[in-house]
């Protein structure tokens, strides 16, 4: 807070103080509302067949929002690639050359990947879902990259293929969303049967969406991390 005009700082503090006061006062918060979300709670399981009602809303009732969210994520990945490619790249070997890090990364990577896959596959039955699973698996890959060197991992995951796969997945999600129109239904309708509650095959197309989003986010996370590592940050 050096070199800052004192008057402005005081003004800022007063303004933000007022803001907090007005928000807390005007919120009218009186604890949780009874019956909140009853509209979904009563019927989500029957409608969608998913045990996890958050997943049911996220990937069925409000799938349209999720589609936008996925697009935002894709745009971010694309933007990172566009702005960092070809600029000031360096060949990163591994960051710390230490046996301990390497061994622990080797040990940690498989369980983390497994956790990610579990979260993706069982997102409709238990907490988790395509997004968190994909990110966790992608972060696992980061550990791998720290241990083996980013280039080694990058060679294994060839960039061109990844790029195509990523956009292929997005294409698949959008086509899946539009497809019901061909059957004369409203877009984003879930055409699959709901299945028996609690089984892997239940929840209609939530599992498919979770899987596709999981792959997409896994790749996207890795691409972002890889470009950040390759770019010689100078801050």
């Amino acid at each position: 807070m050096r070199n800052f005009p004192l008057g402005m700082a005081v003004f800022a503090v007063i303004l933000v103080g007022c803001l907090c006061g007005v928000l807390i006062g005007g919120f009218g918060y009186r604890g949780a509302v009874d019956e909140a979300g009853a509209a979904y709670l009563l019927r989500a399981v029957e409608d969608t067949g998913a045990a996890n009602m958050v997943s049911a809303i996220y990937l069925n009732y409000r799938l349209y929002d999720t589609l936008f969210e996925l697009l935002v994520f894709s745009v971010a990945v694309l933007g990172v690639r566009f702005y960092l490619v070809g600029r000031n790249e360096e060949q990163v070997g591994s960051i710390p050359e230490s046996q301990v890090v390497r061994t622990s990364a080797d040990l940690l990577f498989p369980p983390i990947l497994l956790l990610g896959i579990y979260l993706v596959l069982f997102g409709h039955l238990s907490p988790g879902g395509g997004f968190s699973g994909g990110v966790i698996a992608g972060t696992g890959l980061l550990l791998c990259a720290v241990a083996l060197g980013a280039e080694v991992v990058a060679r294994r995951f060839h960039e061109g293929i990844l790029e195509r796969l990523e956009w292929g997945v997005l294409l698949a999600v959008i086509i899946l969303a539009i497809f019901p129109v061909a059957m004369g239904r409203v877009p984003l309708t879930d055409l699959l049967p709901t299945g028996r509650l609690g089984q892997l095959g239940s929840g209609g197309s939530i599992l498919i969406y979770n899987g596709l989003i999981g792959i997409k986010v896994f790749i996207g996370t890795w691409v972002i991390i890889h470009y950040f590592m390759r770019h010689r940050g100078e801050i």
Binding site: L19, F27, I178
Partner: protein, 512 residues
């Protein structure tokens, strides 16, 4: 149901244009054809009195996400298509990466989605996509100025959307729904609940940051002035309007009438003052975006049917002529290498004739001379209200606009310049033609009696008088450049200004 295909189709094209790199331009044309035919179909059914409300996923209202049109959705869709067509023609000879085209598709898709969105959280998500896409478009050329401008844009837009989300949260806590239609029915009896005031000011502040209202959108001059001309045309003509459209959606539900009127006066006057004393052409146009937003939200604030029609029609007209102005100004700046108006005037013989014609038509439109687009909106607006104050604001704004565009007069001196390629001429024509023939088009929005009542000889004479008055004032304008405070556009100060704006809105709501 086919409404949902507009955005979804564009997302499909976006994904395809990365997969098929060489065919991006063909895909863009194909998508425009697809849009135009779909819109034509929708328009025909609209004329037959159909409405297009659909709840995605086949659920009932309030459970799924609803898409519905109102009278202006389709018209704004047409505006989007016209602007896109012009921009495509403008960029026809340039080789851009597939990345750019993909952003283009996403921009269009989210614009279409927003025009039909009826769900508060859905609006939030779409707005974020729109922010991110325009953020990347502004910085496309990677100049440091652009990068800094778009980074500031991201900061403010993000802050605004956080406030919006806060408002949505409070609203959901008290009403338990996010659907605008259901909300409208639920809120009828509780217009002065204390939480509703907070919600309204939070929502209005959040959207105002994106809608180009002076106290809130302090990122706009830098971003729109530094982006490449095609991007500026799209942002100024289309993306800014999306904020206004959302305000238009919110205005009947929340008690926003008084704040919007006051804000329209503020943004109009401050925008004009800054524009008059700005001598950089693109920056001046950017300030004019801020000032002209005054008309739009004035119409929404007044709230009578005619005023809203006037405001939104002005939005259409503004989209057309601001797009035209940015495109032709971009050419002029590129050819001469000068950005300031005196420099451009000195080299006016180098500017292609078509670009100067575009600038001229755009200027005629923005100052509101009779047959052009600006005139229609302004006339309807002043017919839509009886209040003297609300009628004087547009007059002052119009005089100010003339005053600031009078700087460009020497540019239109009839000198023959070099000729332009056909693609550029076509791009100007796409925007100029509907602008010139705007008057008959307004018939579509208002009943015939009101149309006859509104447009006569008197408004025409009035607007010519206003132009004359503006030119007269320009004579007496001190020639010495005036330095206006630029500190408010810095990141830190602007955040504080936005917060103060929030309190202004809140106080106005308390008073009103």
């Amino acid at each position: 149901m086919s409404v949902a295909l507009l955005p979804l189709g564009h997302f499909l094209f976006a994904a395809l244009s990365l997969a098929w790199e060489r065919g991006t331009r063909r895909l863009l044309l194909l998508s425009l054809f697809f849009d135009a035919s779909l819109l034509g179909y929708l328009f025909c059914s609209f004329l037959q009195g159909e409405t297009f409300a659909v709840v995605l996923g086949g659920w009932e209202r309030g459970i799924g996400i609803e898409l519905a049109d109102d009278r202006y959705s389709l018209v704004f869709c047409f505006l989007a298509i016209f602007l896109t067509g012009a921009v495509i023609a403008y960029l026809w000879r340039e080789h851009l990466r597939p990345y750019f085209y993909m952003l283009f598709h996403l921009l269009l898709g989210s614009v279409f989605a927003l025009l039909f969105a009826q769900d508060l959280f859905n609006i939030y998500v779409i707005m974020e996509l729109l922010t991110l896409v325009s953020f990347l478009l502004v910085g496309y050329e990677r100049k440091p100025v652009q990068i800094w401008a778009s980074l500031k844009y991201l900061f403010f837009a993000s802050l605004g959307m956080v406030m919006y989300l806060f408002g949505v949260g409070i609203l959901y806590y008290h009403t338990g729904t996010l659907n605008l239609g259901i909300l409208k029915a639920q809120l009828i009896g509780q217009q002065d609940a204390p939480w509703l005031l907070i919600v309204s000011s939070l929502l209005a502040t959040g959207i105002a940051v994106k809608a180009g209202i002076f106290v809130f959108s302090l990122w706009l001059p830098a971003a729109h002035a530094s982006a490449s001309p095609a991007v500026s045309a799209l942002l100024s003509g289309l993306v800014i309007k999306m904020g206004v459209v959302v305000l238009f959606r919110l205005a009947p539900i929340f008690p926003l009438s008084l704040p919007l009127e006051v804000l329209s006066a503020i943004t109009g006057l401050l925008g004009i003052i800054y524009a008059v004393y700005t001598y950089d052409l693109k920056r001046m146009l950017a300030f004019h975006t801020l000032s002209q937003i005054g008309y739009l939200i004035l119409g929404i604030g007044i709230g009578t049917e005619l005023a809203i029609a006037g405001g939104l029609e002005y939005a259409l007209g503004h989209g057309l002529f601001k797009g035209l102005l940015f495109l032709s100004a971009g050419t002029a700046v590129q050819v001469t290498g000068k950005e300031d108006i005196p420099g451009l005037i000195a080299r006016r013989s180098q500017i292609p004739t078509a670009a100067r014609a575009g600038l001229l038509i755009g200027t005629l439109g923005i100052i509101g001379l009779p047959p052009f687009a600006g005139f229609c909106g302004k006339t309807l607006l002043s017919h839509g209200t009886d209040s003297i104050v609300a009628q004087t604001i547009p007059v002052i704004l119009s005089i100010g606009t003339v005053l600031s565009f009078a700087k460009l007069l020497p540019l239109f001196h009839p000198v023959r310049g070099p000729s332009s390629p056909w693609s550029k001429i076509g791009s100007y024509a796409i925007l100029a033609l509907p602008m010139v023939f705007f008057l008959p088009l307004t018939r579509l929005f208002i009943p015939i009696e009101q149309w006859n009542e509104s447009f006569g000889v008197i408004p025409g004479v009035e607007s010519i008088l206003i132009v004359g008055l503006g030119l007269l004032l320009y004579r007496f304008l001190p020639a010495r450049p005036v330095k206006l405070p630029q500190r408010v556009f810095r990141l830190e100060e602007a955040v504080l200004v936005i917060l103060s704006g929030f309190f202004l809105v809140y106080l106005l709501l308390l008073v009103g």
